[in-house]
Every structure is written in C-alpha cells, then in structure tokens.
C-alpha cells in the first residue's frame, strides 16, 4: 500500500504534471509584478484578470533576515527568518537553513536555493505536508 501524496503547506506550493513540486507565481501581464498566492487583480497597476500563472525558478537572493530567539511556546529557536527575492520577480519569506544563526555567517544578497522538503509535522488527521526552505546556493 502506497502512502498518499503529502499536502503542501501553502497553496502556491504545487505539484506539477510530473509530480514534482514548484512555486506558482502570478505575473501581471500589464506591469510584470509577480505575486505568490491566488489573485485576480494586480495590486500594483489595478489591472484585472490579466494574471498569468508562472512556475517560479527555485532560486533567488537573500534580501533581509532576522534571527528569531523568542517564538511562540513549543517552537524551537533560534532560527533564521528570511526574505528572499525570487529570480524572475516576486518575494517570499521563509526559514533559512544551512547557515549558523549568527549575523557574522549570513551575508545580505547571498544566492539562495529554494528546496522542497517534508515539513516534519502532520495535522490532526495525520496528513503529511511538504514545505519550502531557503538554503545557501
């Protein structure tokens, strides 16, 4: 018996036809702005129903970050909260792995690879989830 395909942690992390994961952006045909998440109207230029779904390349550059030492109860710290400019447009926030949680080891603008990994958690119904992480490229 095969275990079912894991769900994804956000709706813009999707399975392609070949079963591999990708980040779905929406690019405005009029101004080029890229958004992650469902959307029909462009927040930048207000044009409507001119959004093209695009598969975003799983890479980018570190825009900014912080090292989180205090979080909600039960969450392991420290971890790196990062904002990444995705290649081709749009930005994501997420957790940066593979670097020590120390400002001396984190370089602004460093190339980032976006990886798709098991979230390591299940929901109440026992479903597994896939998520994305940032790692140094």
């Amino acid at each position: 018996m095969q275990s079912p395909t894991p769900r994804t942690v956000v709706d813009f992390l999707k399975y392609g036809e070949d079963g591999s994961l990708y980040l779905e952006g929406h690019r405005c045909r009029d101004c080029g702005a890229v958004y992650f998440g469902r959307r029909s109207t462009c927040s930048k230029c207000f044009s409507r129903s001119r959004m093209d779904a695009v598969a975003a390349p799983p890479r980018g550059h570190l825009y900014a970050y912080t090292i989180v030492h205090r979080s909600f109860p039960g969450v392991e710290t420290p971890f790196i909260h990062a904002v990444v400019d995705v290649e081709g447009g749009g930005a994501l926030r997420g957790t940066l792995l593979g670097v020590p949680p120390d400002p001396d080891d984190i370089e602004m603008g460093m190339p980032i690879s976006i990886t798709f990994e098991d979230a390591g958690q299940t929901d109440r119904e026992g479903n597994r989830y896939m998520t994305y992480f940032f790692r140094p490229a």
């Binding site: 709706d11 900014a64 970050y65 989180v68 205090r70 997420g94 602004m108 958690q121």
Partner: protein, 381 residues
C-alpha cells in the same frame, strides 16, 4: 473649513489593571479629559472610540453607559497600532465637516502579556519556524536588518534608542517604567529577534487616553483659546504597493507618504518641528522613522542617535515621554497618548521633561495592515 483645536486631554498612567474593564479605564481617561477642558459629557456631541482587542464589543457605548448616556453618535474604530490616532482623526474630520463643535476621542486597551502575533495554521499545521516567523518582533527586526544592509546601522545604534527612551521615561510620572537602562543593560538583556533585545521591544501594558476637540468658534465661545492647541495637520495613509510589502510589511513608504502630506497640510518643513512622538514599537523602528519623518537625511539615522540629537535638549527631541519602549504601548490608547504628550509640551506643562519653547510638535503612529497616522499640533498664543 473651521480650524480644529484640542481643548482638553489626559491619559491614565499606563500599567496593568487585571480587575478593570476596557470601558472602565476608557471612562477614566474620558472624564480626565473632560475635566481638563472644564466640560461635562452632556456638552459633547459625538464620541470616537479606538480599541483594538475588543473592537467588536461597542467599547465607546459602554464608556457612555458608565459616564452618561446622552444619545450622541458613537463610532468604534480599529486600525492596528494606529487605532487611537484614527479615533482622533475621525473627531477632527467631524468638526471639519461642520457637523459638530465639540467631540470626544478616547483610546483604551487592555493587552495580554507576551508576544503579539498569531500562529496561523494554513491547512492544518503550524508554520511558525517553518515559514519564518509570525511574531511582531520578527517584522521590525528584519526591517532593522534591511536598514543595516543599506546603511550599515549597528546593533549599538539601535540599542541607543532604548537607552534614550528609557532615560526620558524617568522624567514622566505617567510612564509604565521609569528606570534608566544603560547601553550594557540593553545589549545584555534577552535577545528576542536580532537585533532587538527585550529592552528594545515596547511594553505590553493597559492604558487609556482621551482628547476633547472643538471648532474655532466653540473654543472662543468657551474662552479656552489660551491653553488650546491647534491641529495643523491630520493625515492617514495605508501601505502603497512596494516590492516586499506583502511578505515584509513596509512601514517606511506609508510613513513617508503621510509625512510629506502632513508637512504640506501644515505648511511647514521638518526643521520647524520642536518635538516628535513617533512609533517606537521596537528600537529598530525609531531609527527607520527618523528618516521617514525627514528628521535627518536618508542613511543618517544612526548618526542622529549617536550624536544624541533626539534627546531632550537635543536638536529634535524624540519620544521625550519615554515612548512605547518605556511609557508602554496599549495599542488603542497609544495614538491619543502621544497627542496628549505633545499637547502638554505645547502648553508648557510638561514639567521636568518640558521641551523648552516648543511651538510645533508632530505625532506619528503606524500599525500592521498598514495604517499610518500623523498629526501636527501647534501652540496657540
């Protein structure tokens, strides 16, 4: 359009009041502000009430149930950390519209302890730690690091904001904390989210503040022009589209937009402002807002605090009340409390922390969502 004046304002000392309700502390501030104006609730023609955490629970009307049910229109508003300022602006707009001559604006909040923010669970699992963090310190710490990236701002520079505001608070009997915190103490307190340590995060407290606004005609009729303070500008903005705003809320662009509009409406430049109460929810935020409010050139905020220019007695004193970092930050009250602070200076009644000769002051709040509000106040003669 008539000019609008503050003729009464006060706040309770911020603190923790587990046995009191939000309307109860709101009623206390309301009565204090009415006393300051020498008026009764029976004189007031409309109430604008700001409260965030019970925003759907008719706080304004419940205040009237405690101090006098006169049947006046009541509006309850909520706008994140700009909630109190929004209530104040609505009162200002009411008088501008000619609808009423005397209105009351109240902000009140009871805060829980601990981190503000939520652990949203899209599709059933917790994303805290997995997709970065959902806490408030995270946002403002990341914005601090963005400033560091652009301008090389140092951990010590951010920390000096806290040293200053805690110092100021020792002069303010209405501040929650009134304790000096030297740089070493600020830096060695628990790291919350780099570069903000615990002493660089605002204090969750309960509190309330209120202001009575009047039309020019009414101020003269009541003979209150001497102590009245004129509202020279009231501006609000939300967050315009910027590249990172939807993943890293951008409090700078909306603040700059509001500041430009406020200086224009007031017909003054930043150099004419004598004191500023700005939104130091975290030490990093104050650094950003020095530039956003055009108190210095872009990239010079770190030097501004290094030079102690924003201390009481400096070139442009900022948060002489102690700010959110030390006076405390009861969300719905904050925006009116900083108007109380500036008004008190313009009246020359700020005691030991008085900014000498203050004629024009500016208040600024900005909340997640985003909502930014700036008011420019001026002494009358």
């Amino acid at each position: 359009m008539t000019d609008v004046y503050i003729i009464g304002t006060d706040m309770i000392r911020f603190g923790r009041f587990p046995d009191r309700s939000v309307p109860d502390i709101g009623a206390e501030a309301a009565l204090l502000a009415l006393d300051d104006a020498g008026l009764s609730i029976g004189d007031i023609q409309a109430l604008y009430c700001g409260n965030l955490l019970e925003a759907n629970a008719a706080v304004g009307q419940r205040i009237l149930h405690l101090i006098g049910q006169t049947g006046i229109p009541v509006v309850n508003c909520a706008n994140a950390c700009a909630t109190g300022a929004t209530a104040f602006r609505l009162g200002w707009m009411d008088i501008k519209s000619g609808l009423h001559d005397l209105v009351l604006c109240v902000g009140a909040e009871k805060m829980g302890k601990g981190l503000i923010g939520s652990d949203r669970k899209p599709d059933g699992i917790s994303t805290e730690g997995l997709l970065g963090s959902n806490t408030m310190p995270t946002i403002f710490s990341t914005l601090g690091m963005e400033h560091t990236r652009k301008w090389g701002t140092t951990l010590e520079q951010f920390a000096r904001v806290s040293v200053k505001n805690h110092h100021h608070s020792t002069l303010n009997p209405k501040a929650m904390y009134q304790t000096e915190t030297p740089l070493e103490d600020v830096l060695s307190s628990e790291m919350i989210s780099y570069p903000n340590t615990k002493l660089m995060c605002s204090v969750n407290v309960d509190g309330s503040a209120a202001a009575v606004l009047a039309s020019e005609k009414k101020v003269r009729e009541l003979g209150l022009m001497g102590r009245a303070v004129k509202v020279r500008a009231s501006v609000m903005t939300s967050d315009p589209y910027t590249e990172h705003d939807l993943v890293l809320p951008d409090f700078s662009t909306c603040t700059r937009l509001a500041a430009r509009q406020a200086y224009e409406m007031a017909g003054i430049g930043p150099d004419e402002v004598d004191l500023v109460e700005l939104h130091d929810c975290f030490a990093t935020a104050e650094i950003l807002h020095y530039e956003n409010l055009f108190l210095c050139e872009e990239g010079e905020a770190g030097e501004l605090i290094d030079r102690m220019d924003t201390y009481l007695g400096g070139r442009i004193p900022v948060n002489v009340s102690g700010g959110l970092l030390s006076k405390g930050h009861p969300l719905g009250a904050t925006g009116i409390a900083n108007i109380y602070e500036v008004t008190t200076h313009l009246r020359g009644e700020a005691g030991r922390r008085q900014v000498e000769g203050a004629r024009i002051g500016l208040t600024h709040v900005v909340g997640l969502g985003n909502a930014c509000a700036i008011h420019v106040l001026e002494k009358t003669d």
